[in-house]
Each structure stands twice: as structure tokens, then as C-alpha cells.
Symmetry: C3
Subunit: 488 residues, 3 copies
């Protein structure tokens, strides 16, 4: 045996070892990345819970909190048993595969656990959006029904369309010079437009809270305030935290050259869009109303982050100013103008502005990514000015925008197709909405037996209320006992 053969064999072996090492590292790195981002996205359930808990009255607080807890629980069972199979199960290479997957029910045969875990937290998020729109009057059976249907069926099918290589939205239109696909990196459409659309339908069908709209044709509607601004803010902060992982994690892979940079870029664009939307809204609101509103600024910030979902991996940071300011204006338009006029006419009562934040922000995100992100219309214009085969770029960019609009429409119609009949059916059988008595008196005690702040649990026994003035006199020796909560 010649030594040459030895070297060859050794080199081949070395290369094999190296490839094996690369594969192992890649698999483990991606698993770690997906799991850690999914963990943070999971915490968004807590964010939604508190954003919503702060925005309802104290008498309905337990109700909204349990709903957010059950979301995570129902979604994991629904997505494990059926949802994953519909979304990412293998599919025959025919027309069925364009619309639905149909293997790996109950995860049978699945090995890619990290992807399942990551996709599950997305499914849970899509279901949780709706609860804000029906808060303070929704029957518990309704919660459980729509949460199950969305996380098990409506949302998974949409992700198959848009994110599975066989899905019809993903495949897009392919001609010799036009190549379209569905551009939605982190779910502006399949998560937020879907959730926002269902929110609108739910809020419309369930009807407004008692006392929300004037009964006798008065012009101004009454604002029903939530019971805790700090809880709403806590929810907002946690959601911002979660959104960064939501968008960064959507890379789903962090081993190929440059992927880490894109993860960071997605996060930067997310916070930039949120910041531009928040400041745009805040300034206009201040100029018109004279108040620096916190609650609406949080919503505007979230709308900005939602709008970044579609293209945060393909936008330069400067482009975030366009997307973010646009999102702020759209939220402003939807929440101030439309809600005041159109919604009041339709008597749509959406306590959390779920429609404006998620559907408005989501739709704008889908469009803006065709305008301002790489290969978008702005780039086509720049090409045209520079005379680099401009007309081709133009056609491609507008074709993409058109396809994106078709996809957005499909998402809206699909969401309504299933959820409207369900809501109407629940209404018919009286399981959509609680009775007026329960609504007026509060859901917590009647439905859950748990007041959020039981009066008995407050107060202490050290002294009584001591006016602050008396503190200055030295006649008050029991200074440490001065605080009394007797009346809380």
C-alpha cells in the first residue's frame, strides 16, 4: 500500500470529522437559539395578561388573567396534537400540499423539537391577541372555543400557506422575470393581521360593553378606564422585551455566514420602528390634546413593533423611520379618527385597540416591506434614476406588492371565514357573552370566585390614620407605625 493512499484516506477522514463537527455544532447552536428566543416569547403571554389586566376594571381582572394563562395551556395541547401537523407536517406534492400539511399529528415522527417549541409560542401569541377586544364581557366558553380553534386550526393553516416551502403564498407567482413570494419574516400577516382581524369581528359581534356608547344619541362616548396604569405599563415593557425576541428569533437559524448579523438587525429595526411610532404618536397627540398619554403611547410603540415584523430582516435601519412613523400615523388614524367615528357608528368596542395595533400595524408592515425594504419600490425608483434596468425592477417591485396584497386579503378572509360563523353560533346558543347582570357586577366573583383584591385582605392593626402634619410634632412617638392602610 502506498503512502499516498494513506494520506488520501486521512484527509478524507479529517474532512468527514470536520463536517460532522459542523453539523453537530449547527444543530445544537440552532436548538439553543430557538429555545432561548422561544422562552422569551413565551413570556409575552405575561405581557399580554398585564397589558389587558391594567386596561380592565378591577371587577374583571381575574377573568382576563386566567384567560391568558389558559392560552398557553390550550395552545400547546392544540398545537401539539393537530396544529403542527397542519402547519409543518410533510405534505404530498400536490394541490393539497399548497394548503395544508397532514403528517406528524401528536408529533409522531418529529425530531426537530426546537422548531416545534418555537412555533408553538408563536401559535399561542396569535390566539392571545383576541382577548383584549372582547374583554369584560366575554363568556368563558367563548374564550376557550376561539383559543382552541385559532391555535389548532386557523393560525397553523396560515403558517403553512406563508412559511412552508410548499404553501401557495410562499410559492408565489413565478414567471421568467417576475418572482414573488410572501414576505413576512416574523408574522406581521399570519400572526398580527390574523389576530387583529379576528379581534375586530369578535368585538363587533359580541357588542360593546354596557355604558361604552351613548344610549340616546349623545355625541361623545364615555371612556371606560382600566384599573391600573402600572399593570398596563408592565405588560407593555414585557411585550417590548418579547417582541425583540419574536423578531430576532424568527431568523430560526444562527450558523450560516451573516445570520447573527441579521438577528441583530431585526432587533434593531424592531426597537427603532417602535420608537418612531411611539414618538410620532406622542407628539401629535400632545399637540392636539395637550396630554402626554402613556397608555396610547405604549399601544403606538407596539403597533410600530408589529409593523416591523414583516421586513425587519431586510430593511436598513434608516428605513425603520419610514415604517415606524407610518405605523404611528396608522395607529393614530385607526384609534383616534376611525374609532371615534366609524367604530362609534358600528358600536365596535375594542378595549385594548387590538384591531388598530395588530391589524393596522400588521397590514402596514406587509406593505411597507414592499416599499422600503431591499428590492422594494424605493430601491426600484433609485435603480430607475440610476438607469440600471429600472423598468424590470419596477415591475418586480409592484408585482411583489400586488402579491403581498393578495396574501393579506387571503389572511383576512380565511380568518373571518372560520371565526365569524363560530362567533355567530356561540351568540345563538348564548355562550358568546355573559348576562348584563354579571357584566355590571363583574365577572371575577361570579365566574371565578376570586376577587382580584379581596377587601378582607387589606388593612393592618398599627394605629390609625395619622395626618402628615402631626408628624412634625414630637408628640408622636410611634412614628414607625404611622402608615395605616385601615381604609384600603
Amino acid at each position: 500500500m502506498s503512502s499516498g493512499e494513506n494520506y488520501t484516506a486521512e484527509i478524507i477522514e479529517l474532512r468527514n470529522e470536520m463536517n460532522q463537527m459542523q453539523m453537530d455544532f449547527s444543530e445544537n447552536s440552532n436548538a439553543f437559539f430557538l429555545c432561548s428566543m422561544a422562552l422569551i416569547i413565551f413570556l409575552m403571554q405575561c405581557g399580554f395578561a398585564f397589558l389587558e389586566a391594567g386596561a380592565v376594571r378591577s371587577k374583571n381582572t381575574t377573568n382576563i388573567l386566567i384567560k391568558n394563562l389558559l392560552d398557553s395551556c390550550i395552545a400547546v395541547i392544540g398545537y401539539w396534537s393537530i396544529g403542527w401537523a397542519l402547519a409543518f407536517g410533510d405534505s404530498s406534492n400536490n394541490i393539497v400540499g399548497l394548503f395544508i400539511g397532514h403528517t406528524q399529528f401528536f408529533l409522531a415522527g418529529l425530531t426537530n423539537y426546537p422548531k416545534f417549541f418555537f412555533q408553538y409560542v408563536f401559535a399561542a401569541t396569535s390566539a392571545t391577541i383576541v382577548s383584549g377586544a372582547v374583554a369584560e364581557r366575554c363568556e368563558f366558553a367563548n374564550y376557550i372555543t376561539y383559543c382552541t380553534v385559532i391555535s389548532t386550526f386557523v393560525y397553523p393553516v396560515l403558517t403553512h400557506w406563508g412559511w412552508h416551502p410548499q404553501g401557495w403564498m410562499y410559492l408565489g407567482i413565478q414567471t421568467s422575470d417576475i418572482h414573488t413570494t410572501y414576505l413576512d419574516f416574523a408574522g406581521a400577516g399570519v400572526v398580527h393581521l390574523c389576530g387583529g382581524t379576528i379581534s375586530f369581528a369578535a368585538a363587533y359581534i359580541i357588542g360593546p360593553r354596557i355604558g361604552r356608547f351613548p344610549e340616546d344619541g349623545e355625541e361623545e362616548s364615555i371612556e371606560i378606564k382600566g384599573h391600573s396604569v402600572p399593570f398596563a405599563a408592565l405588560g407593555g415593557f414585557i411585550l417590548m422585551f418579547g417582541f425583540l425576541a419574536f423578531n430576532g428569533g424568527s431568523m430560526a437559524d444562527i450558523v450560516k455566514p451573516g445570520e447573527g448579523r441579521i438577528v441583530a438587525l431585526a432587533m434593531i429595526n424592531t426597537i427603532l420602528c417602535g420608537a418612531f411610532a411611539a414618538l410620532t404618536f406622542l407628539i401629535i397627540h400632545f399637540l392636539t390634546k395637550g396630554k402626554w398619554t402613556l397608555l396610547l403611547t405604549i399601544n403606538a410603540c407596539l403597533a410600530g413593533m408589529v409593523s416591523s415584523c414583516a421586513g425587519c430582516n431586510r430593511m436598513e435601519p434608516w428605513a425603520s423611520s419610514f415604517t415606524g412613523i407610518g405605523a404611528g400615523l396608522i395607529y393614530l388614524g385607526l384609534s383616534h379618527l376611525m374609532i371615534r367615528h366609524v367604530f362609534a357608528l358600528l358600536r365596535v368596542d375594542d378595549p385594548l385597540d387590538a384591531f388598530a395595533v395588530h391589524a393596522g400595524g400588521g397590514l402596514w408592515g406587509l406593505l411597507s416591506t414592499c416599499i422600503i425594504a431591499h428590492e422594494g419600490i424605493v430601491y426600484a425608483i433609485a435603480d430607475a434614476i440610476g438607469n440600471h434596468h429600472g423598468s424590470l425592477s419596477f415591475r418586480q417591485a409592484f408585482a411583489q406588492l400586488g402579491w403581498q396584497l393578495i396574501c393579506a386579503l387571503a389572511i383576512v378572509l380565511w380568518s373571518l371565514l372560520w371565526m365569524v360563523p363560530i362567533f355567530l353560533f356561540l351568540k345563538k346558543i348564548g355562550k358568546l357573552r355573559v348576562s348584563a347582570e354579571v357584566e355590571i357586577n363583574g365577572l371575577d366573583i361570579y365566574k371565578h370566585g376570586e376577587a382580584a383584591y379581596p377587601l378582607h385582605a387589606y388593612g393592618h392593626g398599627w394605629d390609625d390614620y395619622e395626618p402628615i402634619k402631626d408628624k412634625k410634632s414630637n408628640a408622636a412617638p410611634s412614628r414607625d407605625h404611622a402608615e395605616s392602610e385601615q381604609f384600603r
Copy 2:
């Protein structure tokens, strides 16, 4: 010199470089993995703090919060100085090594910092469980004492037994055809069964809160409600978040082939077990009591997650339904039946159900992993049916279950052996429990000088209370000032 030697040398060098690279990556990846999971587990202290703060009355809120803060502080000093050495310090290869480590006190000579950091957050968790069981009446000295003893001594020794390659529980019984070890991936036994057992002992010895049990033989006991359902829910959400890292992170390593998948599998099983336990409990509770309880459902969910600790790396997702439903039923049994009857007889008052959640969930987890996880009794039955040397599998599976029971018993006895005398001693010297006067009036002001919600800090000066009806009239120009907190 022949060129052949050159090639050989080059290939050897290349292989060395590759091995070095693999080692460096492995070390750094594992360090990153352990640190980031440990960070999230660290936040569980915040979760416990709020779960417990929500469940106590407002007059004892500061007291329970400071306890959870000090837990982290005391545990790190205790575990750094002594605990780590007992748990994972090297040990002589003799009988001593079966029970205890005895080097690296104060981390002298330690280089594996990531492992220390990860193990520390576990130790802090094990100590924190007890505080729920003695809430609202525990002397501060008692807190500090048991926290120190558990994190410095009781818990570290248990981990040496179960997780150190020289520990007697780890080594198990080895015969020619039976190989048992201690199966506890993430501490169902050493963390939760230990903490839950001590909770029971502490709650029994310290006695019930004043007013908790009927004084004159009445049948029904009075429920003392916590002051804030939202805080309890906040704690619950953070604990669910933390549990996913707790169980996933227990892999402790994420570089060898397939390890990333197991991390994700552990997380999936954790949330599935929590979901099944929560829904099982919720439905039965609703059917029997007619209320959708949030607080108990959170506990059931946590019990489910605790039960997943033992085998979440070795269960298929479908098996989580068994483990989770079982955990829900056990929590139901312990909290509804036993607590109502046995506990009332013994006058054990465990405000947070720490015993039911942690000891019940933990013990069930240890057993169920021998039943439903790979190589468990269910698999042995399947083997037997398929005639694949069934009797051997059976013997192995039951031997493992037996060993697991012995280990569980050892954990219970070891925990009681040290903590019961300590609690009795503290009782004797009057440092176990605060005086009746302090308990009735609340611990916060007397012990800490800090009321949770000082009355002086509430209220504002804009207008007075304005009834909502008046808003409709245009005679109220100061609409923005309508909210008054005067009476809060």
C-alpha cells in the same frame, strides 16, 4: 526529509487544531448555555416572591418580599462558601465520597464557574419553596436560619447523592442484569420533594395562622384570602417562564450530537405537563365547585411542571399527558381532599400549598418517570407484548421504580432529620413564630417599618369624586380631572 513526513505532520497539526477548536467551542457554548439558563432561573426568585406576595394579606407583603430577596443573597454566600464543596467538590473514592464532597470550599481551585453559577440558582430555588408554607407568621430569624441551612447543607448533600458520579443514589444497584440509578433530570426529588417536605414540617410545627381553623369545632374552615390576584398571577407566569429554563437547562451541556434536541424536548414536556395538569384540575374544579379558579389552576400548572422535572428529557411528548394529568389529580387530591380533612385535623396551614405543589408534584414526577418514560414500566409491558425479552425489561423497570422509591424516601428522611430539630429548637427559644399581637396587626410595620401601601402616598388633588353619570352633562368642563383617588 521526505515530503511524506511533512504531510503526516501537517495532518496531525490540522487535527490538533480542529480538536482544540472543538474544545474551545464546546466550553464556550456550554458556558453560554448554562449562564443564560441560570439567569432565567434566577428570575424565579421574583416569581416565588410575587406568587407569595399575592397570596398573603397586605399587612405581610413587605415581609414575604424581603424573604425572597434575602434567599438569593444568603444562598449565594452559603453555596459559595460551603454548599458547592459538599455537593460537587472532589471526594475521596471511599465511603465518604458516597455521601459528601469535601474540597473546593470557597471555590478554591474551581475553574468550572458556569456549573457553579447554574447550581447556585438551583440551591436558591430549593430554599425559597419553604417560605410559602410559613407565610404571615414566621419569625425573621427562622427565615434566615432555614434558608441558610437548606442552601448550605441539606440541599447540597442531596445533590451529591443524586447527581455526583460518586453519590450513592447515582451509583444505584448494579447486578449482572439490573442497573438502577437515580432518575431525576431537573430536581423533582432533590429540589421539590425536599422543599415540599420541609414545607410540611415547617407548617405543622409553626402552627396555623390565627383564624385559619375553626376554634370551636365548626366544620368549615375559613379561607384567608391573599391581597392581590394579579401579583399571584405575575408570580405564576414568571415561574412558568423560569421552569422552562430550569428543566431545559438541566441538560447542562449543548454540544454533543442531539443535545440541543433534548433541551427542546425537556421544555416541550414541561409546558405540556403544566398544561395537562392545569386543565385537568380546572375542569374537575369547575364541575364540582362551579367556578373557574385562577389561583388554584396556577398551582396545578406548577405542580404539573414540577412533575415533569424528573423525566422531561426521557419522555415522549405523548407521555406528558399521563404525567401531567396525574399531577393535576394529585394536586387536586392533596389540596382539596387531604387539606380539607387530614390537614384540618392536623391543623396544618400551608397558605401557598407548597406541600401539594412541590412534594406532591415532585414525588409523582419521580415515580411517573419510571412508568412512562423510556425504559419505564409501560415500555416493559410493550416489550412483553412484543415478546422482546420482556421479563428482563420488567425486572429492570420495577427494580428502577423500587430504587427510585428508596431515593425518594431518603430525600424525605434526610430533609426531616435536619429541619425538624431546627424548627423545634427555634420554637423552644421563641424564634419560630411572631407574637399573636404582631401576627394580628401585621408583620410589615412592626418588623420592617415599611407598609406595603402607605396610605399617605395615595390620592391626588384634582377635583373630588365625580360620579360617572355627571360626565355626560356638558356642565362638567374639567373632564380630564374626573378621576379621583382621594379615598384610596
Copy 3:
């Protein structure tokens, strides 16, 4: 062609592939590490928000929350447009480069997105510290101004000085036997000393809250209590969580041999310093005042963590006891002695002790790292005792301490140089502080139109207040409705 050439070519190719693989992995691992740590640091905004919200009165809660929300928003726009360029933009190799970077405005030409994202969250943190010191009386315009200036200009320039390889503090003094640099791993100086110094200036110039200091020469000042201890604790827990990532993440790199260990070491030292500071403070406070204070213990813990920032990568864990205990004593001195006497004389009202925590802890951190960390004075003494060229070590160690003092002084002066004129200017134009009427009645409703806890949002309609005694009688059938929040 000889086969030898083939082997050579193949080996070279293999080596190239390996190097490429190493580069890709390194880049992606670092990106992942930086992004995930930055995410957790981002959550510190939530921590500051709640630490501060809990420490103000309910009438100013919305005000402090919106400020923390806007911090993140303003800082990202400021740091993206200008801050990054000044801090880490390339610079000419001349005297300008010692002080400032001047390329990559608006991130033009930037590819290292992960580093930008990580540095941004630091910038946001530096700006957020000040709000605690001016809480409950600060004009909104003032917030926006100082936040913009700090995150866009003051802080970025400091980081150029200290952390950019061309910065003058980084370069230090280099002679044949003395080599000094600026030792500040995670920003004890550039983040915390800077923020704490500005806090002091702001609190002094803005003046104390109405009612804070005695009007007529009485000896004791009145303590204005915050409205929610649980919120303050929540903030404290989140900040501790964030600090671990803040310090561990400052490694900024986790691929070279041993880097993962240092990340873990930094985290361990952080929690150890915090624990020693907290326990030191708590014990002395208890011995002198007789109360186990939660709020001040949280502050002491944070001061300890701040003090660990400078040298947590270069200290052995045992050295954390020195740094931590020192931080506890310094916080004690600054908050108890100085604030009671010096501050009262100067009428400096710093509601959150931002000066004591951040400036005190930060300065102590900068010094202690020259004393107790590797190559510090303690090591020089040990060297001297062991006769290993002790005098050289001594000179080096003291030169380093001297340089560190010069750097600390520069940070203080630079911070004051810009912020004092700005605060004075704002004072002159009446935009520093709200009017007395607004301050007394609260900022929330007047400035923001949003009361933190709108009274209308509380209460429910199930029964009225039912005394706990009545529950025992069977005459109360509506037991589940017993809790009433009517008066909340």
C-alpha cells in the same frame, strides 16, 4: 502533476475551510451572545420603571412610567443617529481620535449590528438613572432634554474615552515599566458614576420636593414614602436579573478559550457583591434602627452590583466579599449619614438614592478593582511579601490606581460640564420643574390625563362589605360573593 502537490492543495483547502468555519461560528456565536444579553439588559428599563414607580406617590406614577418608556425610544434614535458614531465610529489617528469618533452616523457603513444593539441598551441605561433623582417634580421637557443629551452625546463620548482602543483613558500612561489603562469592564464609571453624578446635579439644581425638608429649622426631615413596596421590589428583582446580564454580557465575546468561564465569573461576582452589600447594610441597619428594611436593602444590593461592574471579570470570588461589603458600607454612609446631614443642609432630595447607589457604588467599584482584583494593590503586597520583584508591582498597582482616579475625575467633570449648564438653562426658561400647584396635586392627571388608579375602575356589584365573623354563620348563603371591593 505529482500527487504531493495534490495533498498540499487539499490540506491547504481543508485548513481554509476550517478557518472559515471557525470565523462563521465565532461571528454567529458572538452575535447570539450579545443579542441575548442585550435583550435582558433591555428589560432593565422595566426594572428602573418599577423601582421608581413604587418609590413615588400614586399621583405621579404615570409620569415616572412614561419617562422610562420614552428613555428606550429616545435613546435608540439618539444612539442610532449620533451616539454610536461618537463612541465607536472610526476616527482619524490623531488627537481628535483620543476624544471622539466621527464616522458611521446613522449607522452608515456599519456591519457589526450585534455590537450596536448591545451598546444601545447600555446607553439607554445610562440615561435612565437620572429620572429617580428628579422624580415627582420634573418637567416633561426636562426629561426629554437630558435623556436626549446623555444618550446622544455625554455618555457616548465617555465610552469612546474608556472603551475605544483610541480613547485617551483606554490608552493610559505607558512607560517602560508602568502600563496603565482604564479598568472598567461593565461601566461602573462610564455608566454609573456618570449617571449618579448627573443625578446629584439634577437633584440639587431642581430643588427638593415640597414638604421634603423642614421649613422652619426643625431637626428631622419628613420622609415621603412611595406608594407601593411590591412595585419597588419587582423593579429590584428585575434589575438584579438585568445586572447579571449587564456584567456577564460585557465580555462581548464568547469564542476564544476561557471566555465562557469569565462570563460566568462576572455573573458570580455580581451576585456575590450584591449579596454582601445587601447583608452588610441590612445587619447594620437592623442593629441601629431595629427594622429589617426591604427598600434600602434593595438599594444596597444594587449598589453592590454596581460596584462589581468595574472588576467582575478580574476578581476572584473571595474578593467580592471585600468589594461587596465596601459597597454596602458606602451606601450606608451616603444614604444614612451624608443624606441626613450634608444633603439636608444642601437640601438635595434624591428620592431613589440614585447618587448613593450609582455614583457611590460606581466610584467604589473603580477603586476596589485596583485594590483587590488581579494585579491590584493586594496582589502587589502579596508579591512584596513573597519578594517577587515587589516594588515594581507596587509602582504599577499604585500608578493604575492613580490613573483610575484621574479617569473617575474626568467622568465627573465631563458629566457636570454639560449637564449643569443645561439644567441651569432649563431652570431659567422655566422648563426644569413643574409648578407648585401641579406638584402638590400630582403630575399624572394634569400632564398625562391618566390617573394611575382611576377610582371609577374599582369596585364590583356583588353584595356589600360582609364582616368576616358573619361567614361562620350559615345565614350567609352567598359566601362566594363575600368579597367586596366597593370602597377601593
